[in-house]
Subunit: 248 residues, 2 copies
């Protein structure tokens, strides 16, 4: 492992991290203004801001435009549970109150979406755009795509609450044979960054989920976007037999 020279950014980030860890700045508290910190560390504001970006990416600090930088209270992590066992709230372990708003649209499959759902382009789909909030804070963004014939008419009424829509979907869905989830890191799009109120410079956890029924048909595809500074995805695989008997 190579040991590079610590940059000013890293030095400042380390020092601030220590101030938080030792309780000199407490959870929920506001940090001194960026201009103040910059003069304290005798660096320019861009440099100080890049140090804050490190702590932000670690989930230690949260920036709020116009208000300041705040030490995040712990245990506000978002956990996505993989395996598609439950579809409640796109698999978030909802400890606090989560409110979800859904926008339902009929669209045509095209490009990547057609591939994912294994349908021909222009084939009709229903898109559920789910935005969940934890109190005031945006939490996650989920786009669920389902072939139209698997969507009951009742679910299309926009007035239905989120739970109702999902229950409808689950009832109509054939038994699943396989759930396939791809996890990657990318920067948020402009829309995602401002919708989720996250920095457009910080990565998001992007999860693509594909659910296939026993007939080999893709009954649902979902694109999830979780803020990278507080999200993690957990996947558990159980073995009933020796793992070396499995195919590869």
């Amino acid at each position: 492992m190579i040991q590079p020279v610590p940059s000013r950014r890293d030095t400042i980030a380390d020092d601030l991290r220590d101030r938080i860890a030792t309780g000199r700045i407490k959870p929920g508290e506001r940090l001194p203004a960026e201009a103040h910190l910059a003069s304290e560390y005798r660096v320019s504001t861009p440099t100080l801001r890049s140090a804050l970006a490190v702590l932000q990416a670690e989930g230690l600090v949260e920036k709020v435009h116009g208000k300041g930088n705040f030490v995040r209270r712990p245990l506000q992590r978002i956990t996505y549970v993989g395996g598609g066992r439950t579809t409640r709230d796109g698999q978030h372990a909802a400890h606090a109150a989560l409110s979800v708003t859904v926008h339902t649209t009929r669209i045509q499959a095209r490009g990547h979406l057609a591939t994912l759902l294994k349908v021909s382009p222009t084939s009709p789909l229903t898109e559920f755009l789910c935005l969940s909030h934890e109190g005031e804070r945006p939490h996650s963004l989920t786009r669920i795509y389902v072939p139209c014939d698997l969507v009951p008419a009742a679910a299309l009424r926009e007035s239905l609450p989120y739970e109702g829509v999902m229950t409808c979907l689950l009832r109509l869905r054939p038994p699943l044979a396989e759930v396939r989830e791809k996890v990657s890191v990318r920067l948020p799009t402009r829309e995602e960054a401002s919708t989720l109120r996250i920095s457009s410079a910080l990565g998001v956890l992007a999860i693509t989920r594909q659910m296939t029924d026993t007939g080999g048909r893709v009954v649902e595809a979902a694109l999830l976007v979780l803020p990278g500074d507080r999200a993690e995805a957990v996947f558990t695989t159980h073995y009933v037999t020796d793992e070396r008997t499995a195919e590869e």
Copy 2:
């Protein structure tokens, strides 16, 4: 979804992305120098660099210090296959030649590691630090931790090639009952960034893997770091019965 004003960074990133997509700049080719692009777009170099960071995070462009920015050839993605079915090369689908170097160390469990392996602190562990290269390019970093009594003496000889070590480990390992993988995004540490030759401003995919045998003992814990601009993790869950019968 909120529609913000596109920043200069986004405008430039969009334009460059288009130049790559339409083949005006071809895979493998070098982009014009940053100073040149900056004057072309009439922005300052930091602004131009932040636009390049977007493309870099998308995996379209690769920066090489002292040489330039290059359009990445496609299909150089790193795929981590979850579920722990195979331990060959830490689950990378190795299309090109992958060379892996291993450093074996005996350490004591402490802190997070003791929790992960469910052993008491100071309990002896063997660390396998695996750095894999794809040709000249660093590829991924894996730290595997195994309780010492599960490691055959032969595996500790540093002269053993990577394959030999892993085969030894697999032979001694009891049948697995569960593999649990946590995926998250974080910034690389200074060491990781320079070892993997990635920007310290771009997120990495961090995977924590915990393997438990049928007796409930954790037989292996692994920390994987994959460059966020190239990597994705795939998890596949198969159902033999209806998914709604499964426990939560």
